[in-house]
Amino acid sequence: MTQPEFVQLIRDNNGLILKVCNLYTATVQDRQDLYQEIVIQLWRAIPKFRHESKLTTWMYRVALNTAISDYRKQQRAIATSDLDLFTKEIADQAEYADKEEKLKSLYAAISHLPEIEKAIVMLYLEDKSYEEMEDILGINQNNLRVKMNRIKEKLRQLTKAEAHGT
């Protein structure tokens, strides 16, 4: 793949990379760094892409591997997140109920999940099938379903706790 073709590939899949970056970083600088790291890893790995899976599946693997296991700054991002701030945002969501707010709250909620659960919920929101999620993450489908139910419950309970003011 030539550089201009690769640049076009990145532009076409910009949303995919941005979502991974937004999930795994807390500051603009970290986000930019992770974006760059993912682009570099994609560029280095693309000659080995053998079309054995969908291109987006392959891109998710590279992006998630880079964000989850190869990138250290995310630990700081998680450590600085604040549960109180999150629950406040959930409350605000009921009041303003607009898409932007909902999206912000969603990101805030997901930011409190462990790294692997973040990846699962992201793929779920992207409407990926469990089969494709298994292909990206390497977790079997049954286990993924169990985990997904648990994640949904986690998010529900956090919302409920705020509604009851506890």
Partner: protein
Amino acid sequence: MELDTLKEIWQDAGDKNERAPRNSEIMEMLNKSPKNPVAKMMRNVLIEMTLIIVLFGGVALFYFIAFKGRFISIAWVYIITAALYVFYYYRKWKLLHSMQCVACQVKSNLQRQVNKLTSYVRFYLVSGTAIVPVIFIFLGFLFYFKFPEGALNPIFPPSKEVTLFTWTAWIVSLTAITLFAWWGNRYFIKKLYGQHILRLKELLSQMEEA
């Protein structure tokens, strides 16, 4: 919060809220070096190896030329030591190189990283510790045979004066130095890689728990 109702909002996000980087910005990124821990470790290994080759090579060259060639054996010690170090760095670099598989499934990539990093750390500890007594013994022999008998007494007494005490003193100091090297290596390994290995294991256990 019902996730299913938020799917649509989520799928619209990303493209709308943030601008896509310009072509020139993406092109610029491609020329940069990766910043991930493994890439950094690989760069460090190459830097350390270059330093060893330059320093040891320089010193060896000095001993080859200076003192009218009387200390050529010392020059060879440096060359052999440098060769051992090059092998050591090559092995480290190879382990690091096989550590990354960004296009693999996330779980298998994590598993691979844990396994390779554990091997890397074991190799670091064993070879980093073993090299100390090896060089110590090597230098001991060199000085013993190179210098005139008794010149370095009492560290290298003439062979007829070597007593049980001399042997004991040598064995005790060798053991002490080796233990110190082992402790020092272990401390640095824990400081450098301990947290990273723990984090990888924690991620893997998150994936494995049902």
